[in-house]
Symmetry: C2
Subunit: 335 residues, 2 copies
């Protein structure tokens, strides 16, 4: 297992085992862009290259490898899930007014919000069109359901911004929908495509759901405690946008009434200085520690789901991803 | 056949034959809103009630009636197509900054653009999820394809705003994608659900495509020549937004170089007074007449497609819709 880089904004998961397959997925995504109307193709190509870390494809491919072998179906599933993810990123960037993503200008920065709304729509529609090509209708249905969850989760988040009554349960439901649903679809459907038992499919789905949840908690912690220079992107944006994340929710839970009033003030103000102070307080009070512990416990649960898999390098790789994310979380603790 | 109302912004098609079925569709749409996460349900309910004229459901139901009978599958198809349409309207209203739709505040006016982007996404995803329930995978595939066409057509339109080199062929391809594709899916799939021959399905699909194209041309003409007081909504918005429609394209085609320069000036300025003058010139030069003639010819072609249908009240109703739209187009001519 690789040692996680402490200065990376994006966890570079140990995907060596499927490096070659990911190249195929990359090519397949490029090919799909050409299926669009010529008037649209250029835009689609751009965002498909610029956005998305290919984590969902990696999980789908690994699930295939772990349950009998990767096939062309796994490549297609990978492409579809990544395109759904890319469509959601295009729309997210509109909402966040994001200028760049992974060093490249976002669609909204390049072409404005109108075109970006439509571009996300078109990619999304195409991904679901591709999904109808699976013989097993349940695969398409699950992809559509996960896609809807992503949207519903985002609405949920938008709607509960600056809502200091957000519970931890609400937060978890939100990130399950907006992030973990596609991870779960990747791992679960990747196994399903190989005709595994319902129990194995469910276990892989559950692994994906837990991994996705932890991944989002990690991302949320990083936004709070990361060092902008090391991470290489603007941080403390969640708080400025009123997104209450797990450490902040823990902080609110443990606060006295007087402290709560102070937190409210800082959260509702959302200026750069205040959010840094807030991060400092969250660290000092152990709220970040608590979030990290919660996430690391969930990673243990995720690993337990793998018990149903045969001993293969892919099973090992799934374990490695969990260990890797565990180490990344430790970095948050050490800040 | 009813006489078309000269003062209506929305053609009230003669849908009497399926009035009761449309009530069922309305109820089914309301029921679907309840399938969303409680955090999202209220928004979905609102836009599903506020947007959409139910033309696509009507075509799907009528196609069922004309080819062996309406079933629960036709109701489901209707709900799905209308939800895709509603999702596209929610996103359109963001782009156009529309304040009201059919007298009610739009989603973007009520809740802002961020939530509206996500809301459209969630409705769209759900519609495609519902589509996966058809046993015939081709139905789902066609719905997804038509949905993608809607998005691609909108991108095309956004991209070619103020482009004076837009050809009539480009314009027709654009409106086929953005409007007619869902009409075609409604009529074609409505027939397919009854297991008709490929020829009949294709003829109904083609009827829908032509009807949808004419419907959009009518809408475009109305925007140019309609009387705001009679129509009851803001007009001349297409020109102000740089949308070049069929009459304007004909006007540009027939203009001398000197006239073209004058048109360019007016089109690129897009102020209220100029667009009224432009409409006057288009009328005077016969460009509106020409667009109306084109559309009415296409309506004849649409009616010809119906030849494959048995003589039923539904076939008659399809003919009536064409006649009705023909009469509405005559109103544009008479302005």
């Amino acid at each position: 297992m690789k040692t996680p880089p402490t200065d990376a904004s994006t966890p570079l998961f140990p995907f060596d085992l499927i490096r070659a397959d990911l190249v195929d997925v990359e090519q397949a995504i490029r090919d799909q862009a050409r299926a669009f109307d010529p008037a649209v193709e250029g835009y689609v190509s751009y965002v498909c290259q610029a956005a998305g870390k290919r984590i969902r494809p990696a999980l789908a491919l690994m699930a295939g490898g772990a349950t009998g072998g990767k096939t062309a179906h796994h490549t297609r599933l990978s492409v579809i899930l990544e395109m759904v993810h890319i469509a959601s990123l295009v729309h997210d960037d509109i909402m966040d007014g994001a200028e760049t993503r992974r060093g490249l200008p976002t669609a909204v920065a390049k072409w404005g919000s109108s075109l970006s709304v439509l571009l996300g729509d078109a990619i999304f529609a195409y991904a679901l069109e591709l999904a109808t090509d699976f013989d097993d209708a349940q695969v398409c249905r699950s992809i559509a359901k996960a896609s809807r969850d992503v949207c519903s989760g985002e609405i949920f988040q938008t709607q509960r911004r600056f809502d200091l009554n957000l519970s931890v349960a609400d937060y978890l439901r939100m990130i399950e929908m907006k992030t973990a649903a596609l991870f779960a679809a990747a791992a679960g459907l990747g196994a399903r495509l190989n005709g595994v038992s319902e129990q194995v499919e469910q276990a892989m789905h559950s692994y994906g759901m837990k991994l996705g949840t932890v991944y989002q908690i990690y991302d949320d912690c990083l936004d709070l405690v990361g060092d902008e220079k090391k991470v290489g992107k603007t941080l403390r944006t969640d708080l400025a946008r009123g997104k209450l994340t797990l450490p902040i929710l823990y902080l609110l839970m443990d606060a006295t009434d007087a402290q709560k009033q102070k937190l409210n003030k800082m959260l509702l103000k959302g200026e750069p200085m205040d959010t840094s102070i807030l991060a400092g307080i969250a660290d000092y009070e152990g709220a970040i520690e608590r979030a990290v512990n919660f996430a690391q416990n969930m990673l243990k649960e995720a690993r337990d789901e793998l018990i149903c898999l045969d001993e293969t390098p892919y099973k090992k790789a799934f374990e490695d991803i969990a260990s890797y994310l565990h180490a990344l979380l430790d970095n948050c603790r050490a800040v």
